[in-house]
């Protein structure tokens, strides 16, 4: 089946764009920059596509703008909102915007192209006035239930006299803090308006998304209690490790910073994937599942934005011993893409649109469009843990001769501390010997035996000089597998 992918791709592109057949050795993805309207400071907080195929986008200074890809014209849908960091069109034509203070439904009731009704969907969460209390999301599951996340406050600023929500002094200490309700939580909102805390232990969870099986994933940012940035598989009632939000657990009456780290560590759910800081990613953003075959050979996998590097990340997950874990790599790593890749949305034509932001930190501004050319990238499609190492499924048959060199593959492992301090260096960095390898008859699966497999470590695989049989070099030669559990 996989051999047919390029043919399908050419057909798909041919129908829409009359593209010539892709060069199998040429780029697999191309990046196009979308023209932005004059006068817009394009710090992009949210993008998505309306039912009619137009793009709707939220910007830092409160504008909600609509872009028609056909006419390349921008129009203003709304203004005056507060730093909307998420946007979600609804089937009825209204648009949900996650503003700092509330989730708001914007409706154009007189059909003049501009929103005139701004309805509070929920504001039942606290605000201390601290600038770092961002709100992210929402995402909607198959039943219409919404999920959004609430960032914690920063010790680089205090709280204001007039707050919203009850102030809890137990949540005030710490580098990042949760002194008003549900900061550091993922929240669940039912269609009938019932809002409930869903999971906690988050720091600045700037990215929510479902995979094709309806599992919720949330990214977070390296900092206190986060040795490096993670991707979590988020399930109801779990605690994900950033401690301050524990103060909102019913009956919780101590400063969680006084609890032993070992106890906290035992309470937390581990990240499904860790993104090595300063190596792969410094600030991962929104996860989005590849829904079909129009974006290359990665249907079902997650693509994740990244703020500090001109990259998109790709995550391949598997269930091991009842929990999800897996590997991260880059999908594209090119200066044609800008930094600040904050928000992702698939367009009706199957291309991926990327909204960029800097927001006072590292990043860029604007919107770009990433399209698959039809060329099959030479990539590790799937990385699976075995009892003795890893099986790597490849997108193209591997030229076995390129694997013979000693330098063709190096494996190292390291781990990150779970502690109150900000970030973590790589700890216990160890070279791991590849004791044996075998390539399948179709040259599409490479089985690696490693000297040792140790839970709690990230396994980094660095390929060099490895090519497909068609001569294409490995497009993304670095992989990082988070080994929480053994087979």
């Amino acid at each position: 089946m996989r051999r047919l992918f390029p043919v399908f791709a050419m057909l798909a592109l041919g129908l829409t764009a009359c593209a010539p057949p892709a060069d199998p050795l040429g780029p697999a993805y191309v990046v196009e920059t979308i023209p932005m309207p004059d006068g817009l400071v394009a710090e992009t907080g949210g993008i998505d596509f309306l039912p009619d195929g137009r793009l709707v986008a939220s910007f830092h200074r409160g504008e909600i703008l609509i872009y028609d890809p056909e006419t390349q014209a921008w129009s203003t849908f709304a203004d005056g909102l507060h730093d909307g960091l998420g946007i979600l069109p609804e089937p009825d034509g209204s648009v949900l915007v996650m503003q700092r203070p509330e989730l708001t439904r914007l409706s154009d009731t007189d059909a003049d192209g501009r929103a005139d009704l701004f309805e509070t969907v929920t504001d039942d969460f606290g605000m201390s006035g601290n600038y770092h209390e961002f709100a992210f999301g929402p995402v909607r599951d198959a039943d219409g239930v919404l999920y959004f996340s609430l960032g914690t406050a920063s010790q680089l600023a205090g709280v204001r006299d007039l707050k919203r929500g009850v102030f809890n002094p137990l949540g005030r200490p710490g580098r990042m803090y949760s002194s008003v309700p549900y900061r550091g939580y993922v929240m669940r909102l039912y269609p009938d308006g019932t809002l409930e805390p869903f999971a906690n232990g988050f720091r600045t969870p700037n990215g929510l998304g479902f995979d094709l099986e309806g599992r919720l994933f949330v990214t977070d940012n390296q900092g206190d209690w986060l040795g490096t940035s993670p991707l979590y598989h988020v399930e109801e009632g779990n605690f994900y490790g950033h401690v301050t939000s524990l103060v909102w657990e019913p009956g919780f009456d101590v400063d969680p910073l006084t609890l032993p780290v070992d106890s906290l560590n035992a309470m937390r759910t581990l990240p499904a994937v860790q993104f090595p800081h300063g190596i792969l990613a410094n600030s991962p953003t929104q996860p989005i599942a590849v829904a079909d075959d129009r974006f290359g050979p990665f249907k079902g996998q997650l693509i994740i934005g990244e703020m500090n590097y001109p990259r998109l990340l790709r995550v391949m997950l598997e269930e091991v011993d009842g929990a999800l874990q897996g590997a991260a790599t880059t999908l594209i790593d090119t200066t044609a893409l800008r930094k600040g890749n904050n928000r992702l949305a698939f367009a009706p034509d199957g291309s991926l649109w990327v909204g960029q932001n800097d927001h006072g930190w590292v990043g860029d501004r604007g919107i770009q469009r990433v399209a698959w050319t039809g060329a099959t990238p030479m990539d590790i499609h799937t990385m699976r843990l075995t009892e003795t190492g890893f099986d790597l499924d490849l997108t193209l048959p591997l030229d076995v001769a390129t694997l013979a060199a000693d330098s063709a593959l190096t494996v190292t492992r390291y781990r990150y501390a779970y502690h109150r301090a900000y970030g973590s260096p790589q700890l216990d960095v160890t070279d791991v010997a590849v004791t044996d390898w075998a390539l399948s008859d179709d040259a599409r699966t490479l089985a690696l035996d490693l000297d040792e497999l140790v839970p709690g470590f990230v396994y980094q695989l660095d390929f060099a000089g490895v090519r497909a049989k068609n001569g294409r070099p490995l497009d993304n030669p670095h992989l990082y597998y988070t080994l929480n559990r053994l087979r």
Binding site: H60, R61, T76, E102, R105, L117, T120, M127, A157
Partner: protein, 354 residues
């Protein structure tokens, strides 16, 4: 080095220039659009300088000469003054501040005398009113050879025209009034809404508490500081407050007991004018605020729906305004309405003469 030099400057600046050469006269203006004109000044090392600044713009500005590369540090230090900022005219205590001219109000002028640095170099000058310093700055060239000063168009030490344009025309459209922003402003909760009816008459309506917090005249807001980066700084109000609520949530249904629980439902825009909607249980209230006939007055039109008992609207004498109502009767600052009267009524708030 800067610390000792600063002390010397202050010393010289406070003495008459006995036996010294005539000071160099510099003039500058703080002009509309958060800019100095000119943005470049040139003196020789050690010159005695008298700088005068006119302010034909519509906002208050100051002028601080700072040590090389220290502009943003001084800007941040000024913002960190918080509530002490206005009193100190946003001049932070810092060795990096080499000379300072405090508040110059719109239409006025100010003068500062200082000794130019003895070391040649590029010394930024900047306005440290909140947010201004991100775009409102220039460069004092201290040099014996003015021909080395780059042309303003090529000067990397000056704000880019793009950044200035972003501060002055901040959106991809022209701001039309009534205009509304949800933002962080002083003396309100973090869920504040600010509205200006015409660019001059403005108010803050607080979505956390579903009531008006205050109103002011003379301008709207400057979001430059709040928008720069991650939102750490508050939006600045432009103008003078004439109304400050003291009574809290004003409505009482059936009883004069404590203020009821209220839920903010959102707002509807009619020709950009918001009608706020909130609920006390099943009782729906809509509030639309327009300009009154007097220069500093607001007409608040209310519609209370779904309530069959008496309605009271509570005010305080110290709120800075005189109240008039279209219906009901006043009883020691409390407007008492029947449920029929409450279905639609208006309250006019007019600034008391001061």
């Amino acid at each position: 080095m800067p610390a000792r030099w600063f002390a010397l400057t202050v010393f010289l600046a406070t003495l008459p220039s006995l036996g010294q050469a005539q000071p160099v006269q510099l003039s500058i203006a703080a002009v509309e659009g958060l800019q100095y004109a000119p943005m470049q000044l040139v003196v020789a090392p050690g010159d005695e300088v008298v700088l005068t600044m006119d302010n034909p713009s519509s906002m208050i500005h100051n002028w601080l000469l700072v040590a090389p590369e220290q502009r943003m540090n001084v800007v941040e230090a000024a913002m960190a003054l918080g509530a002490a900022g206005p009193e100190q005219e946003y001049i932070p205590e810092s060795n990096a501040v080499l000379a300072a001219l405090g508040e110059v109000a719109p239409g006025e002028a100010g003068e500062v005398r200082f000794t130019a640095p003895t070391e040649a170099g590029v010394y930024p000058f900047v306005c440290t009113y909140p947010g201004h310093g991100f775009v409102m700055y220039g460069a004092l060239y201290v040099t014996d050879d003015p021909t080395t000063v780059p042309s303003a168009a090529d000067d990397p030490n000056l704000p880019s025209l793009t950044r200035v344009a972003e501060a002055v025309a901040p959106h991809p459209f022209i701001v039309e009034y009534p205009a509304l922003y949800r933002t962080f402003v002083p003396d309100a909760s973090p869920a504040a809404i600010v509205v200006s009816l015409d660019g001059d008459l403005s108010f803050c309506w607080d979505a956390s508490y579903s009531h008006l917090q205050y109103a002011w005249a003379g301008g709207f807001v400057d979001n430059t500081a709040h928008w720069s980066g991650n939102g750490k700084y508050l939006t600045e109000l432009i103008g003078t407050r004439f109304y400050q609520q003291r009574a809290g949530f004003p409505f009482r249904l059936d009883t004069d007991e404590d203020a009821p629980e209220v839920e903010f439902l959102g707002y509807r825009l009619t020709d950009r004018l918001p009608t706020f909607r909130y609920a006390i249980g099943e009782v729906m209230i809509e509030e639309t605020i327009t300009a009154g006939e007097a220069p500093r007055s607001l007409v608040r039109t209310f519609e209370v729906g779904g309530h069959n008992g008496p309605v009271a609207f509570v005010t305080e004498a110290s709120e800075g305004v005189r109240y008039d109502a279209s219906a009901g009767s006043w009883d020691e600052g409390v407007l008492r309405l029947s449920s029929d009267q409450a279905q639609q009524f208006s309250i006019t708030m007019t600034a008391e003469e001061d």
